[in-house]
């Protein structure tokens, strides 16, 4: 499927290359594909862009607005913006940022050091040896680790085959390290296929920010705090910080009720596999989207999918697990993530994006049979205008605050979604309570 996920060719750069001016390039790209006047403002000077982040208040009002409008397309501090939106940096208190960055980096290096198990020279060779069945033995741990790393590697080496950036051994090693550390820090989550593609854009964004810094430094002096925050030495640690926060919000897409994977990343082999009684959270979420969001907003499309017997999970599991990573080209995906992160810490917007994406191609879907429908949904047209998808999702979520994008053909709306939004949102409540921890 090498050619289907065509990330922007402009970004196929090896890790060590000094990139072209990302901001300028993205702006051109923006002008070409979006035609949105919002993105056409002249780019801020590098330091000026940084200072605008420092000036943000605790509610990040301006930044959120900008993110929802697709105004971060050319941002050179996107990883910092994401940290703010995801709570890794405290908004409005820039004097604490350096210590927060340092503490997150320390957390990661401590975690990594703890995970570096070397069984050789064990103090208790009687009980701790390569043949030991004891689950506490360092040898046992060593073999489990090796299996898990092999499992992760299998996916990492296959991450976005068409993008050179991910072919570099350096980047692949960084990704394996991060996913392994995450699996051990969150054993109930462990490693599941798909996490590698949530991580990939994160590593890419952190890398781009660091490269933009290096590039700027070649031409002028840069404030020392920027140099610290975007220090290329910490690509791995800084990516980890973002990754685990994103995973925290979407863990429901991966968790399987009443079952924890073994430490090698496999699920217990003797487990009964019938799944009729306990539904996966991700399936429940997709059913909720269908019944509560899609049905009232587009009854015709809802009926059509029902009649064809196409449940949302056939395509939606991938949409949710990867946060739409395979549905849009990279630059659009990043804009979509900007909006998701900016809208709320529980990523509620995701549910509305699913509906928005369906409605955006409703005319095609409505005249398609089973096979054509599924093909459309499993290979979502990459040419869709991401700003329309976002604007319509925002409108669905809060019709009183946002107006629908003029280009979308609005289906007959029977019930206001604001009412629906008042309903108990199992997903939101759970995630918000978690993110407060």
């Amino acid at each position: 499927m090498n050619h289907e996920y065509d990330w922007s060719l402009n970004y196929n750069m090896p890790l060590d290359d000094v990139p072209v001016d990302i901001a300028q390039e993205a702006l051109v790209l923006n002008g070409d594909t979006m035609g949105s006047p919002k993105g056409r403002q002249p780019p801020l000077q590098y330091e000026e862009e940084w200072r605008s982040l420092l000036k943000e208040g605790i509610d990040l009002c301006d930044l959120r607005k900008k993110a929802l409008e697709g105004g971060l397309r050319a941002a050179r501090f996107r990883s910092v913006v994401w940290k703010l939106l995801l709570g890794a940096l405290t908004p409005g208190s820039p004097d604490t940022w350096l210590s927060q960055v340092e503490s997150d980096r320390n957390h990661y290096s401590t975690l990594k050091a703890k995970l570096r198990v070397s069984p050789i020279g064990s103090a208790e060779p009687q009980s701790d040896n390569p043949l030991s069945q004891d689950e506490q033995s360092t040898w046992h741990q060593f073999f489990c680790d090796r299996d898990l790393q092999a499992l992760i590697k299998q996916d990492v080496v296959r991450t976005f085959p068409g993008v050179d950036f991910f072919r570099g051994e350096n980047v692949q090693e960084i990704m394996i390290n991060i996913l392994f550390a995450y699996a051990r820090e969150y054993p109930a989550m462990c490693y599941r296929q798909g996490m590698h593609e949530v991580l990939a854009p994160v590593v890419f964004v952190v890398h781009c920010d660091q490269q933009a810094l290096l590039h700027t430094q070649e031409q002028s002096e840069v404030s020392p705090e920027i140099v610290t925050v975007l220090d290329p030495k910490y690509l791995e640690a800084d990516s980890y910080t973002l990754f685990r926060r994103i995973m925290n919000a979407i863990e429901g897409s991966y968790l399987i009720p009443n079952m924890a994977p073994t430490s090698t990343g496999y699920f217990p082999a003797n487990m009964k596999t019938t799944m009729n009684n306990t539904e996966n959270q991700v399936v429940a979420q997709l059913n909720w989207i269908k019944e509560v969001l899609l049905a009232p907003n587009d009854p015709q499309l809802f009926q059509h999918l029902e009649q064809l017997d196409i449940p949302l999970q056939l395509f939606g599991i991938r949409w949710l697990r990867l946060l739409f990573g395979r549905e849009f080209p990279l630059q659009d995906l990043l804009v979509l993530w900007d909006a998701i992160f900016a809208d709320s810490s529980s990523f509620d917007l995701v549910n509305y994006i699913v509906v928005s994406m369906l409605v955006a191609i409703r005319s095609t879907l409505l005249k398609s049979d089973y096979t054509k429908c599924l093909t459309q949904l499993m290979r979502y047209p990459g040419s869709m205008d991401i700003s329309i998808i976002i604007d319509y999702a925002l409108y669905l979520k809060a019709p009183s605050k946002f107006s629908p994008p003029p280009k979308i053909i609005p289906p007959k709306v029977l019930v206001s979604t604001d009412e629906k939004n008042d309903r108990v949102h199992y997903h939101r409540r759970k995630q918000e309570s978690e993110s407060r921890k």
Binding site: V282, Q313, L314
Partner: protein
Amino acid sequence: MAPAECEATYKVLVLGDSNVGKTCIVHRYCDQTYYDTYISTIGIDFKQKIISLDGTPIKMQIWDTAGQERFRTLTTAYYRGAMGILLMYDVTNQESFNNLTYWLKNIEENASPDVIKVLAGNKCDAVSQRMVEQDMGQKLAENYDIPFYEVSCKQNINIDKIFLTLARHIREQRSYQQLTEREHYDSGQNGNITLDLKSRILEHTSLKEPWKCTC
């Protein structure tokens, strides 16, 4: 050939451990393409191919699953209406062979009891890396009474053959079902229906007609 001309649609699931070549075999079969690496399948993917089964046009609807989904997350929606299963392992990966019993158990618990199964040992071109001998696969297949082929996506060995075998068995199964359904109808007329037969047929009709309108 327009899909409307097809006599029937056969829904086939491809199952097996991660990285045994499930996506690869689907692409090789449906598109006649081959790449060394494929992006990992998340959830499920879908392709179809129209074949001529001894002169009759048949739509093969092939569902490509994610390897790490062995438990639970392979939702019933995937299994629903599956008429055939292509179970795969990698002859260069012992673990993928060992896990076949778990896959078979999973199939038994979730698929229709008369789903047609075939077993494929992929990457048989990789002679120097082989870990699982052919007779191992053969023996397992005999134990479970399912057809077995070693295949190579890379060198296009036995790919068409294994799908064709699957299609033929599905056709046989279906004609057997139609026959028993007719018998059922006839015996029903005479009031001689046995409970056993009845329950079996109910199962068939609910599982084998998934594409009908449910409204």
